[in-house]
């Protein structure tokens, strides 16, 4: 940080809060995406906190790693983290004015998301075949399957929405209609989906 004079600092602060430009130094669309992500994060925080309470007051809790396949869960985490990294590269490429690489990386991100959704569909159908529903399951702890379906279901729906957004952004980019901001906003959402999964992975599957 280079030192600036007091007058210069005052001028910068005045221009920021005077309504001329965003005090957050972002475009309006990126700022709105952040506001959305924060509110969405609080929704998931609500789910995970409710899960924490339910689990604490339930007389017993199944051993998750015996119910679900640790290999599948790890693979899903690997895929989502990788797609997030590739997404960051897509943003980088779009910002650098390289739509060809941006589309390539977006494509890889979409493939990662689709694989993740496929694994989740497999996991859900397996779980349902074992007799789990929203209100009961063979392990005798109704809260267990309720938490599973609500949390992973909501997350899975976010992955699906993310895939839709990414597909639209990628298609527009192939037509030459793209901006660094549009790719970055889609990217922010995608990373957020990854962040939620990191929490779900640790607190629902491992804890």
């Amino acid at each position: 940080m280079e030192s600036t004079s007091l007058a210069e600092q005052e001028r910068v602060v005045a221009s920021d809060w005077g309504g001329g430009k965003s005090p957050f130094g972002t475009s309006w669309s990126k700022f709105m995406m952040w506001i959305f992500i924060i509110s969405d994060a609080l929704t998931f925080a609500g789910f995970l906190i409710a899960y924490g309470f339910m689990r604490r007051i339930a007389p017993a809790w199944p051993v998750q790693m015996e119910v679900f396949s640790p290999l599948l869960i790890t693979f899903m985490t690997f895929v989502l983290i990788s797609s997030s990294a590739v997404m960051a590269m897509a943003v980088s490429a779009a910002r650098a004015g390289d739509p060809k690489s941006a589309v390539k990386f977006l494509g890889l991100t979409i493939v990662g998301g689709a694989i993740f959704l496929g694994c989740q569909a497999y996991e859900w159908s397996h779980f349902i075949r074992e007799g789990a529903t929203l209100t009961k399951n063979p392990w005798g702890v109704p809260q267990f399957s309720a938490a599973f379906f609500v949390i992973t279901g909501f997350h899975g729906f976010h992955v699906f929405s993310g895939l839709t957004i990414l597909t639209i952004v990628a298609l527009r980019a192939t037509m030459g209609k793209y901006s660094g901001d549009s790719v970055e906003n889609a990217g922010l959402y995608w990373h957020f989906v990854d962040v939620v999964w990191v929490f779900v992975f640790a607190f629902f599957y491992l804890l």
């Binding site: 005090p23 957050f24 952040w34 994060a41 924490g52 983290i81 960051a88 910002r95 063979p138 962040v195």
Partner: protein, 117 residues
Amino acid sequence: MESHGHAHGYRQYFTTWLWLLGMTLLALVVGYFHFLGEGVKAFALVTITLAKIFLIGSIFMHLKAERVNLVMLTFTPLLLSIILFFFTFGETLKNETHQIQNQSPTFHLPTGEVKEH
């Protein structure tokens, strides 16, 4: 960001990815093998998770390059929700009246067999 050239960016994303994978494996080891006490295990998982979130937020989501205003805006509500959680979570530890009582002793599988637990 552009001033760094994007090859530099890719390398940073790649190292971040490696770190994230490493921490995922660490979390898996901590979670899957029961060699830690319940409290230590929870603490380790929370720490690893927060470290991963920090990496994703600062590097993938570029918060490192954003203004402090935006960074504060993103983290304050989450910190508050965590504080609120711990304010009330203690309630569940000693209060028997909060126990859920709707466990059924047997369960009928879709195949028709009855499972006891």
